[in-house]
């Protein structure tokens, strides 16, 4: 089981508060608008060699947050791309000496015994968990609803150590302990989360997660061999995880319930796979056309061009392949963002019901903004974040 599977795609946005039974949590954004946003963003990412990511991520969140309507009032995301950029730069400044120190310590370890430095990777795992916590805190403090922000305290390092110790237990238990790990870590996160002066808590129990998902644990080894069932297993797992997580969230007297269906998420994953196949075919056709084009320009016969492996050395062909791949990768990014961010968000919101929303009717504003350092680390260490 992937140690970090909890935070990536799901990285649960500052959630839902309240809705009275007759008025479910809703999403008012148009799909075409979101599509335009990520399409334009992908183009800008291409032009800026990826530096636009900070602003694109911010625009995506702004769109999703602003269109999330709870009890008739829409949320708002107040983070900005510039903050993410600064967080990234600071994280780099910290990570550079860390990398150097890691290298030197690893060198000493290797001198004692070959490959003895491998356990040092654990250190980066710790760093990654710290980043996950602080990134959540950044996102939460940028979430505003009814003129009051969510916020978070607690220590990223204490969280990271807990996550690390639970991670150690994952090894001897072959991942069976995952539900209890998720519950314990989420309790820590939610206990330190607030909406104004309303303190959060998490009531999901590891045992309930286990009861719903144990059969997936059995299926996982099968799915690793029988690839076609993997999307079913993963989709079902994510649905159970989301449902369990949402249903455990509390802010004071406000409770959340979710009835997310497994089929909803499985459908989304298959759509992404379908698009991947289609775009992959287009890419292959493009490759073939470029090869023919380049071969015809070099003047050698096709057979000769390919049998002599000359094609692997042709610079024009490599440039064409590189460009094609870039466009292919960005198109896949658009697909993933539309289905696994926007559509998933809408499905999850549609499954949510909020009980006891009256408790959030008059909450006093509190809490400070947190810096974007965590997001920077998450980016620098290549940990996915929402």
């Amino acid at each position: 089981m992937n140690e970090m599977s909890w935070s990536p795609i799901g990285a649960p946005p500052p959630p839902p508060s309240p809705v009275p039974p007759p008025m479910p949590v809703g999403f008012s954004g148009k799909r075409s608008e979101f599509f335009h946003l990520v399409k334009r963003g992908a183009g800008l990412e291409l032009v800026t060699l990826g530096f636009y990511r900070f602003w694109l991520l911010t625009d995506i969140r702004r769109h999703l947050w602003a269109n999330t309507v709870i009890d008739g009032d829409a949320a708002e995301y107040t983070g900005r791309g510039r903050e993410l950029l600064i967080g990234f730069l600071i994280a780099l400044a910290i990570l550079m000496p860390v990398y150097l120190g890691y290298f030197l310590i690893g060198l000493e370890a290797e001198r004692l015994k070959a490959f003895a430095s491998i356990p040092l990777v654990a250190f980066f795992f710790l760093f990654g968990q710290f980043a996950i916590y602080r990134a959540r805190r950044y996102r939460l403090t940028r979430t505003v609803w009814r003129g009051v922000r969510f916020w978070m305290k607690g220590s990223g390092w204490i969280y990271a150590i807990q996550a690390f110790l639970w991670g150690l237990l994952m090894i001897p238990t072959l991942g069976l302990i995952l539900p209890w790990r998720a519950a314990a870590l989420e309790r820590y996160k939610m206990r330190h989360s607030y909406y104004g002066d309303l303190q959060g808590s998490f009531e999901g129990r590891g045992w309930e997660f286990f009861k719903q998902g144990w059969w997936l644990w059995l299926l996982t080894p099968v799915a690793l061999y029988v690839i076609p069932i993997a999307p079913f297993v993963y989709g079902a797992y994510k649905a159970i995880e989301w449902r369990w997580w949402l249903s455990g969230i509390r802010f004071g007297g406000v409770r959340v319930e979710s009835k997310l269906r497994k089929s909803d998420l499985i459908g989304l994953y298959w759509k992404v796979i379908g698009w991947n196949v289609v775009l992959g075919l287009v890419f292959v056709v493009y490759l073939a056309l470029s090869a023919v084009l380049v071969a015809s320009m070099t003047g050698s016969s096709f057979a000769e061009f390919f049998t002599s492996q000359e094609f692997a050395k042709s610079i024009p062909l490599l440039v064409l392949v590189g460009l094609g791949y870039l466009v292919f990768a960005l198109a896949m990014n658009v697909v993933i963002r539309v289905y696994l961010l926007r559509d998933l968000w809408v499905k999850v919101l549609g499954s949510v019901n909020v009980i006891g929303i009256e408790a959030a009717a008059n909450v006093a504003a509190r809490g400070e903004l947190a810096g974007a350092l965590g997001e920077g680390f998450a980016d620098g260490l290549d940990i996915g974040g929402f």
Partner: protein, 366 residues
């Protein structure tokens, strides 16, 4: 002069909501548009915002959401009546000041391009220079540590043992000593033959040269092997390993800054890194070849046989330079060694008996 014509709108039950930023209490309000925007609840004014301080913020479609720079940061006014929203917006000259416009995007693109260009320039020109300058500053003891680590790893990876039957070892030492002295390296250089069928040889940082038995098996005379050893000693002399380490880790780090979280970016990063590091590597290989040719000249032996051995090992590599290969083409290396070749002016470095012993250095001890 009744220009500040008072307009009072949004009747009760209305579509206008106000949050004061101090609590989450939802207030149905009326707006009075006078010289300022007055927010009124049940007849009493809650706040008055100057039009020039009003800024738009994110809102769902069909709603106008406003904030005010002089009010609490999170105070929000939400207007659902489009006519009222239009009327109000027409009075607020700076309502769109916070919205990122085309100019904002152009600035981001401009700076990103500048950053990308500077990264590329540093990778291509800055890092090689920095590596050249830094390498002499790194103490040799540190380099030797690197070598010890690599040594243990190499032996582990190839599952190789050191071949040293006495006759073969004697011949090997004689050959290496001759080359080493001619190359101007001191006795700290360590060398050995490893029992692996991979036809290769390499230098490790801190002065170690290994020859795989597989290369000996393909070699036809001592000059071929001598040139290879001289080439590897050239890497040692130039401290190419350390230089490459500094340069390539810098390259990886800087290229890793680009692309970021784009799905599939690792391929791009790997690809661009390969292009850069292999171009640097080819340059180092050419220098080592030049060094080997000089050494062979000084020893009075031909350099061309080494090129022939290389070609025999790799086979013909085809025309055109591959921009992703770490070494120059074997054909080109042979061509250069032939071009700069001189006929033998001294006797062979090893007698034919010694050469036979070297070839069988990995056979069981007699």
């Amino acid at each position: 002069m009744d220009s500040g014509a008072e307009v009072t709108q949004s009747p009760p039950g209305g579509s206008t909501t106000y949050f004061d930023g101090a609590s989450s209490k939802r207030r149905a309000v009326m707006l009075r548009l006078s010289d300022r925007l007055e927010i009124v609840e049940d007849g009493s004014a809650l706040a008055a915002w100057a039009y020039d301080d009003i800024r738009g913020v994110d809102s769902p479609s069909g709603m106008l959401r406003l904030s005010c720079q002089t009010a609490p940061a999170l105070a929000r006014l939400e207007i659902r009546d489009t006519a009222l929203a239009a009327e109000l917006v027409s009075r607020c000259a700076k309502v769109n000041d916070n919205a990122p416009g085309r100019r904002g995007v152009a600035v981001i693109v401009g700076w990103s391009l500048a950053a990308a260009a500077s990264i590329v320039a540093i990778v291509l020109f800055g890092l090689p220079l920095a590596a050249d300058r830094l390498t002499p500053l790194v103490p040799e003891t540190f380099e030797r540590r690197l070598g010890d680590v690599a040594d243990a790893q190499v032996k582990g990876l190839f599952n190789a043992r050191v071949c040293d039957n006495p006759a073969g070892q004697a011949a090997f030492v004689k050959l290496v000593t001759a080359i080493r002295e001619s190359a101007g390296l001191d006795t700290s250089v360590q060398s050995g033959v490893l029992s692996s069928s991979v036809p290769n040889a390499f230098a490790l940082p801190g002065g170690k040269v290994y020859l795989f038995n597989g290369l000996l098996a393909k070699a036809e005379n001592a000059d071929e092997i001598a040139g290879v050893l001289a080439h590897e000693l050239g890497h040692l002399k130039h401290r190419d390993n350390l230089r490459g380490l500094i340069r390539d880790s810098g390259t990886s780090f800087l290229i890793g800054l680009l692309f970021g979280d784009i799905t599939g970016s690792s391929v791009l990063i790997f690809g661009s890194r390969t292009l850069v590091t292999s171009s640097h590597s080819r340059e180092a290989e050419q220098n080592a070849d030049g060094f080997a040719i000089d050494v062979m000249h000084r020893l009075g032996r031909p350099a061309k046989p080494t090129g022939e051995l290389l070609l025999r090992v790799t086979g013909k590599e085809g025309k055109g330079l591959s921009i992703i290969s770490s070494h120059p083409l074997s054909e080109d290396r042979l061509a250069r060694m032939s071009r700069e070749d001189r006929p033998a002016s001294r006797p062979p470095l090893l007698t034919s008996a010694e050469w036979r012993s070297l070839k069988s250095i990995c056979d069981a001890k007699l």
